[in-house]
Amino acid sequence: MNLDWLDAFLISGLFSVVVIVGLGLLLHLQLGLTRIANFGVVGFFGIGMYSFGVLFTKVDWPFGDFWAFLISLAFGTFVAGLSGLLVGWLIADLDEDGVLVGTLGFATAVAILATTEDGLTGGARGLGGLRFPYDVGSVKADEFLWLIIVSIVVALILLYVWWVHRTPYGRLLIGIGGNEPLARSLGKPAFRAKLWLFAVGSAGMGLLGALFGVMERFLAPENLGIDVTLAAMVALVIGGTARAWGAVIGGFLVIGFFDIIVQSYLPFPREWYGQAIPNIKQIVFGAVLITVLLFRPLGILGDMRRDKLMRRVHGG
């Protein structure tokens, strides 16, 4: 496959966008519909990434790479879902502050474990040996194919989110987010619904973490920084927390701008890309977030329903 026309930075930038869009979509179900402010996105992402990586690279598999890869991927997804179930069980009945601290604490614990468990994770030195489950001739072609595969996974997540919006389950999630005691009094198992949502969302985040690890081919604790959670959250808030497309629009606008346009197409001095640009990126994330929350609290897409409600409540 001749991919000379394709810039390697573009593949990498698009891949970041697609992963953040996927995380933002899963976060949309938790934050946008059910009002669970999960600040531990990167924790579930990391659990999936490391569970997959450790199993895939450390086990002496008796069969070929492809099956070992699939089993490890399923394992990473399952462990992330299980950890979501556990964390969800712990935080489901807490208030907003408790949820924030609990999920943030979980993500911090995952990053610390990844750094300190040398024997299993490689610690600060990292864990190598990850590879694509195929070889199509060149690194660029392998990465391009992986970008397409992960894009399909994220498209399926979008389809799932879209489906949830149109089902009684989605109405239940909105109901729980709006008035949980009322939902319980109406015969809705709110705790169970939140637990299921958290488990499924975390499993999806873990799957994306594993897929991300494959693209990196090397797992390091640096991948588990709060910036992953922030990126997903900023994308979602800017796009619109209440709309399924919010994370997609926000992801392309925010992450796409930095990881593709700034990275590849703007003529900044080379030395800026080491520290200055990532730092500027964090500052801009914060500034944009504050601006959007001040002037467009429902995000760029807003929410037709909530917009109507807000207009009625606040006038205009």
Binding site: G175, L182, A183, S185, G187, K308, V313
Partner: protein, 238 residues
């Protein structure tokens, strides 16, 4: 008014409950049959806590609740709803980000009869809701919100309806309409009702029996016709 000695819909004994370690209800006994049972009391008497405790939204410190012959003291709120207990809270009784129709449909997710049939009955009872069905519940007036909350509870096909001050803060027109509807729900649909109210005059017109709550304790339980003004004043601590 209907008979006062029907099958026991709900029996509660020695109910104690409250919030954050503060006991609000103190040893309440309750025996409700197929009737309109009204709970009267001044602000802070514990009416809302009593209904929320019966709906299993506030945990019991001690005592037991038997609903239609089953002990429901330890089961979660969503299970009492599935067993036929409908609850209409005083405030925040709708899902503001869902439309009226979606709010009603949330109630229709349990029960055996077809949701369409139940929806028709709700619209017959509250014709205004049919015209409002596409509107966001968060944009409704107080009276309209109460109708939605009540309609949604009826969508559950309840055997017992807990109504927490359904007319509080409403205009006189809505107050009259609501008390008419309460009678209609009980008499035409055979639903037992526990009604918490401050408006004693109106509530006594529709009640079969009445409990006067005073500072979390049951001051008196009587047939509505037997309650004297002096007893009421004493219960209200006037």
């Amino acid at each position: 008014m209907s008979e006062t000695t029907g099958p026991r819909m709900l029996e509660a004994s020695g109910l104690r409950s409250g919030y954050h370690g503060v006991t609000v209800l103190k040893d309440i006994d309750l025996d409700v049959g197929n009737e309109v049972f009204t709970v009267l009391g001044a602000n802070g008497a514990g009416k809302t806590t009593l209904l929320a405790t019966l709906a299993r939204l506030v945990p019991l410190t001690s005592g037991s609740i038997v609903f239609r012959g089953d002990n429901v003291s330890a089961i979660p709120a969503f299970e009492t709803a599935a067993r036929g207990m409908g609850y209409v809270p005083q405030e925040r009784g709708v899902f503001p980000e869902l439309t009226v129709l979606e709010n009603l449909n949330v109630g229709g997710m349990i029960g055996e009869r077809s949701p369409e049939e139940r929806m028709r009955e709700v619209f017959d009872l509250f014709p205004d809701l049919e015209a409002l069905q596409g509107q966001m519940a968060g944009t409704l007036s107080g009276g309209e919100s109460r109708m939605v909350a009540c309609g949604r509870a009826l969508m559950q096909d309840p055997a017992l309806l807990l109504l927490d001050e359904p007319t509080a803060g409403l205009s006189p027109l809505y107050v009259d309409m609501f008390f008419e509807k309460i009678q209609e729900i009980h008499q035409d649909k055979g639903v037992s009702i526990i009604l918490a109210e401050q408006n004693a005059t109106k509530a006594l017109e529709v009640a079969d029996r009445v409990m006067v709550l005073s500072l979390g304790e049951s001051f008196a339980v009587k047939d509505a016709a037997e309650l004297t003004t002096d007893q009421l004043k004493e219960g209200y601590r006037i």
